[in-house]
């Protein structure tokens, strides 16, 4: 088991955002969290990333407890998040954005190999390596966000809404790349609004509702689940 989230309760002030959530990600898996807006998907990711800390419950990664580990340390341990809305550093060039992704890495050779790898996955970024991040199109920004996250060579990649605001054709491309990254050995925890797509690429999935997990299982099973179909796949 790579990541284990165990019964975490997270609060924003008085708001009880996560009410005892548990799930795991195994080595080599794509796991998806789906659910409505405000169900607590991003909160879960941010708790794993160390931006938020649970009031009770714990998170462990490769058997180490990381519940209270600060965010920057967690990146070093091998978890990296590509945040919702891409959050590219607009005034930095594409290259510099990638370097920031590798902030925790010291070995220069490894960094340049990492950049090579990212450029291989996203050839469009190579063309634009000296352009400012802010001038990229939405799809390119999403690629950069993912590439940047990959630069830290994570064992576990957290993707928050990678398809948000993208045209269908780009969504297709992004999901292809997600599978590619996974096939190279990186485990992925995917948070998606687009449940259909997310479940298509994921091995397992969890359904969140108002801070609780209401359903879990293999993604095929979830895709066929009438409840899920009704609530998230728009049962036409």
């Amino acid at each position: 088991m790579l990541l284990e989230v165990k019964d975490i309760h997270v609060y924003y002030g008085a708001i009880h955002a996560l009410q005892g959530i548990s799930f795991q990600v195994n080595e080599g898996e794509i796991v998806t969290l789906i659910g409505a807006n405000g169900a607590g998907k991003s909160t879960s990711l941010n708790t794993i990333s160390g931006i938020l800390h649970p009031r009770t419950g714990g998170v462990s990664f490769r058997g180490h407890d990381i519940t209270l580990t600060p965010a920057e340390e967690i990146v070093r341990l091998g978890i990296c998040q590509s945040p919702e809305g891409r959050k590219i550093f607009a005034p930095l060039t594409v290259m510099e954005n990638l370097e920031m992704g590798a902030y925790t890495r010291k070995d220069r050779g490894e960094i340049s190999r990492g950049i090579e790898r990212v450029f291989k996955s996203f050839p469009r970024l190579k063309e634009r390596q000296n352009q400012l991040g802010g001038t990229l199109s939405g799809g390119e920004q999403q690629m950069l966000a993912m590439g940047r996250a990959l630069m830290s060579q994570p064992t576990l990649l957290l993707l928050d809404e990678p398809s948000m605001g993208l045209s269908p054709i780009l969504v297709e491309e992004i999901f292809n790349i997600i599978q590619e990254i996974n096939s190279e050995g990186t485990s992925i925890l995917l948070v998606e609004q687009n449940a259909q797509m997310a479940l298509s690429v994921a091995h397992r999935g969890y359904v969140l509702e108002t801070g609780q997990i209401v359903l879990e299982g293999a993604s095929n099973a979830l895709l066929d689940n009438p409840q899920v179909h009704e609530a998230y796949l728009g049962g036409h």
């Binding site: 409505a36 269908p168 599978q179 609004q193 797509m197 690429v201 609530a231």
Partner: protein, 275 residues
């Protein structure tokens, strides 16, 4: 290709907008007749929101005309444009977060409050009369959107769906003839999207509105819009009814891609199985 029986409400021609050297909108053309429900789609960064900002006066066009009710709106400040009958919602909800739900709606009545500053300060009978009237109007409005129980709540404390509804209610309280909705379905799950679509139909019928909609979720666009305009790189690449758009090769290439279901199937097959 539009419904010629109704008069033209909005007519945009040869609209251009440059930011520095960047040409965000190129020769944009759009005509909307009264009572229509029109969708504006296109890839991210195609210039859809810029068009909205141009129509509402937040940006001033570099060239071209925007005619609303046969009146050129270019160069007119946003608040006046709103007062002539265009209201909008925002992609990322923009309520007045620290005000109550009631006040959020009451603000829409400011330009025709019926009393002036002096009345308010001295508390003349005129103030009390009009204040009561506009409060009741606002409450009725909240009632329409089933928010009346929430009137005292601070807007930022509402759940997401109610915030969306409040935003639409607020926009409608300004009594527009043309409503612009910027990605209303963003951040909604399928169930919410269905209710949203019903809501859009409902408000159009009830308030006799004309609606221009930006949306990414094809289900919404195809489901509610009568006409669709597709933008890419600041230009219109296609226009037509939903069926025409879905089969337009240019649109498929630039925007839609292969059918979603087909793609999902393909991806599932590719999925490598791990223990």
């Amino acid at each position: 290709m539009t419904d010629q029986n109704q008069p033209l409400l909005l007519e945009i021609s040869a609209l251009n907008k440059n930011f520095g050297g960047l040409r965000a909108v190129k020769n944009f053309e759009l005509s909307i007749h009264k009572g229509e429900l029109v969708g504006l789609i296109g890839p991210n960064g195609a210039g859809k929101t810029t068009v909205f900002n141009l129509i509402t006066g937040i940006y001033v066009a570099s060239s071209g005309t925007i005619k609303f009710k046969d009146q050129n709106m270019v160069g007119i400040p946003p608040f006046e444009i709103t007062r002539t009958g265009i209201a909008r919602t925002f992609q990322n909800i923009r309520l007045f977060p620290n005000l109550t739900v009631l006040d959020n709606v009451r603000i829409a009545y400011h330009s025709h409050a019926g009393y002036n500053l002096l009345d308010a300060i001295v508390r003349t009978p005129r103030f009390f009369h009009h204040e009561k009237e506009l409060t009741e109007r606002a409450q009725d409005f909240l009632g329409v959107f089933n928010l009346q129980d929430r009137q005292g709540e601070i807007a930022k404390n509402l759940p997401y769906g109610e915030q969306r509804r409040l935003e639409i209610a607020r926009a409608l309280a300004a009594e527009p003839q043309l409503l612009l909705l910027d990605e209303p379905a963003a951040g909604m799950n399928s169930k919410e999207v269905v209710t949203l679509m019903e809501l859009i139909h409902f408000i159009r019928d009830r308030f006799k509105l004309t609606i221009l909609l930006i949306e990414h979720q094809m289900r919404v666009v195809m489901g509610v819009c009568e006409w669709i305009t597709v933008m890419d790189f600041g230009e219109v690449i296609a226009r037509g009814n939903p069926a025409e758009i879905q089969s337009d090769p240019k649109v498929v290439e630039a925007y839609l891609g292969r059918g979603a279901a087909e793609l999902a199937k393909k991806l599932s097959e590719k999925r490598s199985h791990v223990a």
